[in-house]
């Protein structure tokens, strides 16, 4: 069955249309949705798009930034405000993909995709839905209930600015360089107070159906100084409570074996 395309001028109109149909999908950059159309995917019959320019704006607010869901990876790389997210955006696909792929679409991308969403998870972002005036949804909750949000339109994401440049670190592990799909990605927010970690958040991409927090590692880090002993203890529990997937890129066993090694490298990295 061919797909139907509906175009709206405003995001709230598009959000209403999306909410009223289980078989409609919103068009971000289209890198996943058009791939599904080309493959004859029958799970949706309508594509909804909006021309709203607000949707791709980046603005400062409070002690962070509001990034429109339509902002592309290339726009993040080019932004002077979002320098801390540039290495994450640069790790997604090749140059053409980065000109198309949006941060909104990345929130919905199935594993092994979702490198940007993993970074947003570590940063403690909130997800703002179109047409809901209240507070945003913590990204942890959004990703946990992602299926349920399939009919909501993400308008933007609010991201707190990390306290200093070295407080946020990201690594994407892939076999093909410079452009390869993640075996795993690791994002770490490591705020320190008086030489001790306080409120550390660690997230993995490609280690579960959605990006996940790594609570065992966070517990090992909390209140400690980021020294060799702490890093060893954190690496030892790198996959505690996690059942990584087997896919065409790597087996569950392999992911489990290498997770601690990559986590250790990231945590012991000098200020980059």
């Amino acid at each position: 069955m061919p797909v139907r395309v509906e175009t709206y001028e405003r995001l709230d109109e598009a959000a209403r249309a999306l909410a009223s149909s289980r078989t409609a999908r919103f068009l971000g950059g289209g890198t996943l949705i058009m791939r599904a159309v080309n493959a004859g995917d029958q799970s949706f019959d309508t594509i909804i798009r909006a021309r709203d320019a607000n949707w791709s704006a980046i603005r400062a607010e409070g002690d962070g930034f509001v990034i429109g869901a339509g902002v592309t990876m290339a726009a993040v790389v080019a932004s002077r405000d979002l320098v801390f997210l540039a290495p994450v955006a640069r790790s997604v696909g090749g140059p053409a993909i980065r000109n198309m792929a949006t941060i909104g679409g990345n929130l919905f991308a199935a594993s092994p995709y979702g490198d940007f969403a993993a970074a947003l998870l570590a940063l403690g972002a909130t997800v703002n839905l179109a047409g809901s005036s209240g507070r945003g949804i913590p990204i942890d909750d959004f990703l946990r209930d992602r299926e349920r949000h399939a009919t909501s339109l993400v308008q933007s994401v609010s991201v707190p600015r990390p306290r200093d440049a070295s407080a946020f670190r990201f690594v994407k592990v892939s076999r093909v360089k410079p452009k390869g799909i993640s075996l795993m990605s690791i994002a770490a927010l490591l705020p320190q107070m008086g030489g001790r970690l306080q409120g550390a958040r660690i997230a993995y991409g490609a280690m579960a159906p959605t990006p996940i927090r790594v609570t065992a590692v966070e517990r090992a880090l909390e209140g400690q100084s980021l020294d060799i002993a702490t890093i060893e203890r954190a690496a030892a529990v790198a996959t505690e409570g996690i059942d990584p997937p087997t896919d065409a890129l790597a087996s569950s066993w392999y992911r489990r074996e290498v997770a601690g090694v990559h986590l250790k490298r990231l945590l012991s990295a000098e200020r980059r």
């Binding site: 061919p2 139907r4 395309v5 140059p95 000109n99």
Partner: protein, 161 residues
């Protein structure tokens, strides 16, 4: 099925064409306009041979919904040469045997043009980065990378095309 009119610029000339719902830009360019320079390789975003420039930036035409190019400036490999005069990139590809079967070439040329338009003097690493979304199964990439660096050196990659 509903047909929608779309207007845009292709290699400097105005075009108007009807598209079908869900039609991708690659199909629209090839079947609707008759520009056969962008190729179909995978339809999945992985090979890069369908790369075209939209407002000067590389995009994968197989993953672009055709109707979203309304009012935009498109460039394909058909727009590179001026008359009989090859673009510096095309000349360098020919001189350097950077095309064997040639299937990846239109995508490589577009990715390279986007790079040189922004950065006329790229490093080797920057060239590798720029074509990282384009797969070539024949050349082993070295002749392509060298050709792009040669075109940059010749200095007229920017002057036409």
């Amino acid at each position: 099925m509903a047909k929608k009119p779309v207007r845009f610029h292709l290699n400097g000339s105005e075009k108007a064409v009807f598209v079908e719902d869900g039609q991708n830009l690659l199909d629209m360019l090839r079947r609707g306009i008759g520009d056969l320079t962008p190729k179909y390789g995978c339809g999945q975003g992985t090979c890069g041979t369908c790369t075209v420039l939209i407002d000067g930036e590389p995009h994968l035409s197989c993953l672009t919904l055709a109707e979203t190019v309304e009012g935009r400036q498109l460039t394909t490999t058909a727009g590179l040469a001026s008359g009989n005069r090859l673009h510096a990139l095309q000349a360098a590809f020919m001189e350097g045997f950077a095309a064997q079967c040639g299937y990846c070439t239109p995508g490589m040329l577009m990715a390279a043009k986007a790079l040189l338009d922004r950065n006329p003097n790229p490093s080797r690493q920057e060239v590798v980065e720029a074509i990282s979304g384009n797969i070539c199964r024949c050349t082993g990439y070295e002749p392509i990378i060298n050709a792009i660096l040669e075109a940059a050196k010749s200095g007229d990659a920017r002057h036409y095309g």
